[in-house]
Assembly symmetry: D2
Homo-oligomer: 347 residues x 4
């Protein structure tokens, strides 16, 4: 089979670099084009010396014509708003696109516009598919444009959707408490990302006001068949990579731990990247570090009538670059795990 030529726009951010890592080891892909405004002309291995001798492609300033000549699939790892103007010509040129920003994640553009800005690529948005692979696989398979989910939504939606679809939870009772590593804040300079401001500390930020909340609610409501209103609080953890989400919801029907585990096992049967923990075990972010796995466990608080779901991902893996490549695999009819199923590091 002919190799798929792939481009990464924004290759020098953390998600971009992780895309470079995965794609350059992907057996069906040839990495052909890396864009970076700040580092045009510089080999990616100068910016990330870990790549030296393995991936040495130079970065360049984005040129759409050049890009269209060089790539079959384009991964966009740029801040939202930028992809809106980049995507339409790519689609016209027949390219497949996986966009990691929020620009193409919403079915209801008024939600996007209420939390981000006016949308300037409405036709593309209408045709885009939300790339939560384990839930929307069939739509993704036929899509030219995928809006790759946010890291927080990925970590919360995969555990909750099976229970909402089965009518087991009250969708107005959901509390989502997430904890993220620092790479989620990106590679741009910020005082709040400096080592001495993060190490040996823990904090909440944007309680009930983070922009991933409407993204979650749109998909939770769809699963529940009625409006989900959630309370979402993200937190910052002194680690580079990893995200753990603890979700709480009132049960509408009786559940015990065994049944709850089965709901997950049944829904994700045959989906190798969702790992339901062994009975008694709980997810830890370390077990998903550098991988595309989501580990999940369910606990039932019978006294309070609540289901507790704990899930762990690598925010740069299943929460960004890993899932983006998984989406590409689905879009191109490749095995879903191709290039993604490396043996994880034990520590």
């Amino acid at each position: 089979m002919k190799s798929i030529r792939a481009a990464v726009l924004g290759a020098t951010g953390y998600a971009g670099a992780e895309l470079v890592r995965i794609l350059s080891g992907h057996p069906s892909v040839t990495l052909t084009y890396l864009s970076s405004r700040s580092y045009a002309g510089v080999p990616i291995s100068r910016i990330f010396p870990a790549f030296k001798g393995v991936v040495d492609i130079p970065c360049r300033d984005l040129d759409t014509a050049e890009l269209c000549g060089a790539a079959d699939v384009v991964f966009i790892a740029l801040p939202h708003k930028l992809p809106m103007s980049i995507v339409p010509p790519l689609l016209e040129a027949g390219k497949k696109v996986v966009d990691l920003s929020a620009d193409f994640r919403f079915r209801d553009l008024s939600l996007y516009e209420a939390h981000y800005q006016p949308h300037s690529a409405r036709a593309a948005a209408a045709a885009s598919v939300y790339g939560l692979c384990e839930v929307y696989r069939d739509e993704i398979a036929g899509a030219a444009l995928v809006g790759n989910p946010g890291c927080y939504p990925t970590s919360a939606l995969i555990p909750l959707i099976p229970f909402l679809r089965a009518g087991l939870l009250d969708p107005s009772s959901i509390v989502i408490d997430s904890k993220s590593g620092v790479s989620g804040a990106g590679r741009s300079l910020a005082l709040s990302s400096q080592f001495c401001e993060v190490a040996e500390g823990f904090m909440a930020y944007k309680p009930a006001s983070h922009r991933h909340q409407p993204e979650m609610e749109e998909n939770l409501s769809l699963a529940a068949g009625r409006p989900a209103v959630i309370t979402f609080v993200p937190h910052l953890t002194p680690m580079s990579r990893g995200m753990l989400t603890t979700s709480y919801a009132k049960m509408e029907k009786g559940l015990d731990e065994g049944k709850a585990r089965e709901v997950l096992l049944d829904f994700y049967a045959g989906r190798p990247f969702v790992r339901v923990c062994e009975p008694g075990a709980l997810p830890q972010t370390r077990n998903t570090r550098g991988t595309n796995f989501l580990d999940v466990a369910a606990r039932v608080d019978q006294r309070a009538g609540r289901l507790i779901l704990v899930s762990a991902i690598d925010n740069l893996g299943k929460g960004a670059a890993g899932q983006a490549v998984q989406n590409m695999n689905i879009m191109f009819g490749l095995p879903e795990t191709e290039g993604l199923f490396a043996v994880p590091h034990p520590l």
Copy 2:
């Protein structure tokens, strides 16, 4: 005024060592007696070389008669069950006692017995006071025995109690999501406390089954005047010291952020160790590290009808040794802040 002679039992654990630190710098206290089974005969500064040249007292095997001759107040930083047999003779000898274990924290001993073991010092327990300083100060002032609160309960009760007392929250709707540094697990050897098992990772443990849950519920119910049934999930964070708790509850009366902040300001007026964050600001554990402060902020999620409370402490400070010394100050009629109000480190 004559110096108070203080003893620390279990001086070589983390809470014990923090007690040694605070008490040896306390202007009204002379540290006279340190016990440690494992390190009898060894100066505390050999075990914690940070103390060298500042606190060099030797540890000894616990001997009650010797202890009674040497100390006016006894801090017990031993695992629960041990204090039950140690405390009664100390009380008979007229000593004041602050016990950091769970043995003397419960009003309802059946709760203790359901979650720990049979209680063998029921008379002492009946006379003990729960040492949550800002809430039960008057009872503490008259007590001979104080059960020093757990770290998780301290971090959750101080934010929630003012709202429950004012009838503003539904006590059956409370979710408490806590994140602790590793020193909370103590200084005993455990694979789960080894650096390589903790660093760059994050995990939940004992969801809805941690023993601090009944301790919280007893005090929340008391504040609400009706039974509180909570869901509590603790988490482990890759840092040594610090605890952040995010509490969620349904509001029974209308609140906005300004009013919620005032509930806290009013309740804790004149209580210098509870710091209500400036409007817009949120607590971070780093700001309380090494101190007896609890920082707290309230946010209102109007859409979901929920109050969100974020609080930060040092689990070894206000969550253990700091509050224990604050209790001693109250028991001996000293200014509450004495020996505890050092300027915190900026990083």
Copy 3:
């Protein structure tokens, strides 16, 4: 080609688990046998849940007959002294062996006996080869038994040997200052490996008395053609994986930075795991994390007449499991990089 059947003894230590990770992804290898005394009967993925769904082989108690029936090559990741009794029957049975302990690293057994204990497998030791791949490749290719180098020696020998062979340095002037991550201390419980005793701290240990010193000296002397007497001080760094070594030596002939870089480039031409940094760049452990690379740079202090060599490895990678698999590749005539050349993580 028929798959090589591989066994890992001591699979649940950190080096053992890293061997499991690498070998189970190696295209020419089938992992057939894992031993662990403490976890016999337990799948390796219960002990390291990162492996779940990817490597689920059970551990078993070591049984030599069983082992010989199951494996063509045996990796031993057990504490020294144990391999001495395990290796001889394996060699007799025609197995190839890579031993990660110190037992088979020394040419001069009196050095081993002076720093470890009496040697009980002298014939095997006499036939063993020191597995520093880039230096002794030809001997390794013909060996049945390889003594895999220690992490500190690997990090220091690769930079120094080219200069000593070329007669450029005074072998009596060498100072080696190494900094290691905590996984180097292994997975056994130790107070000094607990998170709270390591985090936010840095220390030296065993200055001029670490057992890797004679291992270094034997190989440095061989390279220099005269006795090397070094001063070696290892240090512990608050990170899980990684090792950086700074070596200092008096120059015997004039060198500048460009020439020094060329000495390295020439000596390691065609050896893909030794990466000489770009001019101006310096090694960082993060760039080698999870890989078999050694990054190295040379600087010249003309005023003091000293060469400074800075090298970085992953102590579990090139410093242990990675090099062990590289040795296996050489012993079996496979391409040296097979199964080892994954794209490194950018963070």
Copy 4:
């Protein structure tokens, strides 16, 4: 006694904030003036919320007249070059000054000019004293202007000077290998200080080209009575605070560990901030964190004829703010330990 009025210029950097912490707890000092260009008008407790309720003084834009009216002693924690223009008018106004930059550290201004820039306050420089308290106490006592030593020089000079003064070491043989926490890089934004670029990594920087090298050599030469030519390599460690220095030198006279320890004990007798480790023990940065201590141990490598000195400080404590306040104590005739001898944290 009348309280000394103190000012801190550059109060919002890490060293500045640590000065604020120490001075606001100093019994003989009143903090009266904080300058910060970026945060003029903002209370220091908004920038460092750890200070909230304890130190709430506002920052202001530097105004020399105002400053002279408000302060008796001025601590300058600004980048070098700035102090050169600020100091002369302060001295004329009769103020005492402790400058934490390099501007007033050199006896030989040509050294300063070779490594920094032309010096524009030569008269002030000529009258300044190098503030290494334990070595130059008498000169400091009479000085109006003290150049506070750099963190690296402090950590290396205190261990080495006693041996050089006694003629025990070859001053041309010294290698100094230092490891610093990240706060040494200051609070300005830098990619290399971002959490994800530092955590779980270790690196060398500026080998044999750091500007603290001439500062060290000037003072080592003075102690030896002949020129010291050193090789100095600093490293960056993934921790916020702390510095460990390992120094190596050829012995010119016989020494063993006991004698070496006595050289240190004798030289620093009566100097409480230099703690010579117990026999067998070694310094760890954690034991000095947040303090003004320097912990030191000597080891002798008889085979190589080298003395090894290991020393630990807090780079913001004895390496910056702590020593600056110690200098003030000496300049004002206060007990050297006043305001500085708090009990260190055990973790």
